[in-house]
Amino acid sequence: MHRTPHWIVLAALALLALAAFAFALTAGSVDIGVSAVARALLSRADDAGVGYAVVRELRLPRAMAAFAVGALLALAGTMMQVLLRNPLADPYVLGLSGGAACGALVALLAGTSALVTPGAFAGALVSTAIVFGLARGNGAWAPTQLLLTGVVVATGWGALIMLILTTAPEAQVRGMLFWLIGDLSGATRGGPGLLALAGVLGVAMFFARDATLLSRGDLTAASLGVSVRGTSLALHALAAFATAVAVTQAGSVGFVGLVVPHAVRLVIGNDQRWLMPAAALAGGALLTLADTAARTLFAPAQLPVGVLTAIIGVPLFLWLLRRTAR
């Protein structure tokens, strides 16, 4: 199997992420050139030009939030695929996004939009607690048991979501749909997401080598000195936290968490020390690009970014898959 050296892939993805940021900061209904953007980024508020407010207060935080959400989802997906030993797993496979959506939708239904974020986060945690509580058989979590429990719990959340959607007043349904598809127009702060991302990636890298071995089976990993229970628990907690933060910021953006880890793995392999940072960069870049397109393609109308991640990601992934198969 011939592979491009790992560091070249990582460097290329870092460049892609930078390009995505450049695109996000320059594109929009107000025409701001590259040099004006650079000036806005470097200048202080008091000697700001025209573009300052647009770049610093609208585009930059939103690009940062998009990058963080995309990267968190891709990281969570990478971890879930290892933990469940299944390349088809994604961050939502254990029903976490369903719980978050129910929390957010109930908040929207009650008309208290200030509670959407805490509601989503609480819903995500409740769902995680339910799945792990139910799937616990004699002290350990077997992947199949978790997966089955998660899928069934997710179906339950799905039914609840449908119930809320069908009974909600029509004026609120559109907002709810945007939330469900995934939308970043509400993101006004980029810092918290990036901070969460840095934390999750740092801790994940600590476990990266153990995670690579875990993907070859619990017994093999344990026989090589991996503390299987502790590592699995830590990775599950990390993935749940990353997903909860992402979903809380942007709703259930689909596709990124499933396909980015998979696509990046095709290029860089399954060594988690490389796959985790590479997936984070790729996921962040993809969502930043998709979100910028979502807010500019049909401006002033805004598309939910979740639709675009799929529209960009599906052909990209199919192309990669075909290329590898040959």
């Binding site: 199997m1 390349p87 080598r209 070859r216 017994l219 026989s223 090589l224």
Partner: protein, 258 residues
């Protein structure tokens, strides 16, 4: 040799799976240079015994000692530097090159934040070469056949290079040539390099050829000791509930079903 302290031993060991006791009062000592073979019917508990000896499963009673220490109290990393285990099944759900997999065997020897050294890489290559897979070092494991994957898994254990190697049917999926070659390799590691080998094996003729010691895992009793006294047609016929005839051959004893 027999005066050397045992590297792996068990005392009053009892094994159970949910709802069933497999065996009790198992006790034996494994010393450097010995090649132990575990024989028994399907479901007799060979896998359970090996996993328990590897410290990956709690015994129902008794204790396993690795280099004199209760294995349950050993730090996982310390244990993995001294004892390796080849599981019956390995998962190849994700792409990885044969070399990456063999390098995984170096895990207990490489500090957490350090990349594998050039020495680790050459040990992994040597391990792949030992199982005849070094030409496929950069091949994706998912493109390999079942037998080739088995040899790569064995290479991972060889790269780990522990004092004690526990192997659960190491020759499954292997053709007869690679079966013999792998067993010769393990026997050499025991005899020439002072490693201890304990493995479950179904081929009694090959067991008779390579074992220095044997554990016969019966439903009501467990016998362990030097191979010569235990690998007899009479004992094996009772163990398997199938009459076997021992045929002497210049290269060893052949067991033929009656």
């Amino acid at each position: 040799m027999t005066s050397a302290p045992p590297i792996l031993s068990c005392r009053d060991l009892a094994l159970a799976v949910p709802g069933r006791t497999l065996c009790s009062d198992v006790a034996f000592d494994v010393r450097a240079g010995e090649c132990w073979i575990v024989a028994g019917r399907n479901g007799a508990g060979k896998t359970t015994l090996l996993q328990t000896l590897a410290g990956l499963r709690r015994p129902a009673a008794g204790a396993v000692l690795l280099a004199g220490r209760p294995i349950a109290e050993c730090a996982p990393r310390w244990r993995a530097q001294r004892l390796g285990f080849l599981a019956q099944d390995t998962f190849d759900a994700f792409p990885a090159t044969a070399l990456e997999i063999a390098l995984g065997g170096r895990h207990p020897h490489v500090p957490r934040w350090r990349p594998e050294s050039a020495t680790d890489v050459s040990l992994a290559h040597a391990a792949l070469a030992a199982v005849g897979m070094n030409d496929a070092a950069l091949r994706d494991v998912q493109t390999l056949s079942g037998g080739e994957r088995r040899r790569v898994a064995l290479a991972m254990l060889l790269a780990q290079d522990p004092d004690v190697m526990l192997l659960d049917e190491p020759t499954s999926h292997l053709d007869i040539a690679h079966e013999v070659r792998s067993l010769e390799l393990l026997a050499r590691l025991a005899h020439d390099r002072g490693r201890a080998v304990v493995m479950a094996l179904h081929d009694l003729t090959l067991a008779a050829r390579f074992a220095t010691h044997v554990i016969l895992l019966g439903s009501d009793r467990v016998e362990s000791g030097p191979a010569g006294a235990l690998l007899t047609a009479e004992k094996l016929s009772t163990l398997f509930g199938q009459t076997l005839v021992a045929v002497a051959h210049s290269r060893g004893t052949v067991f033929v079903p009656d």
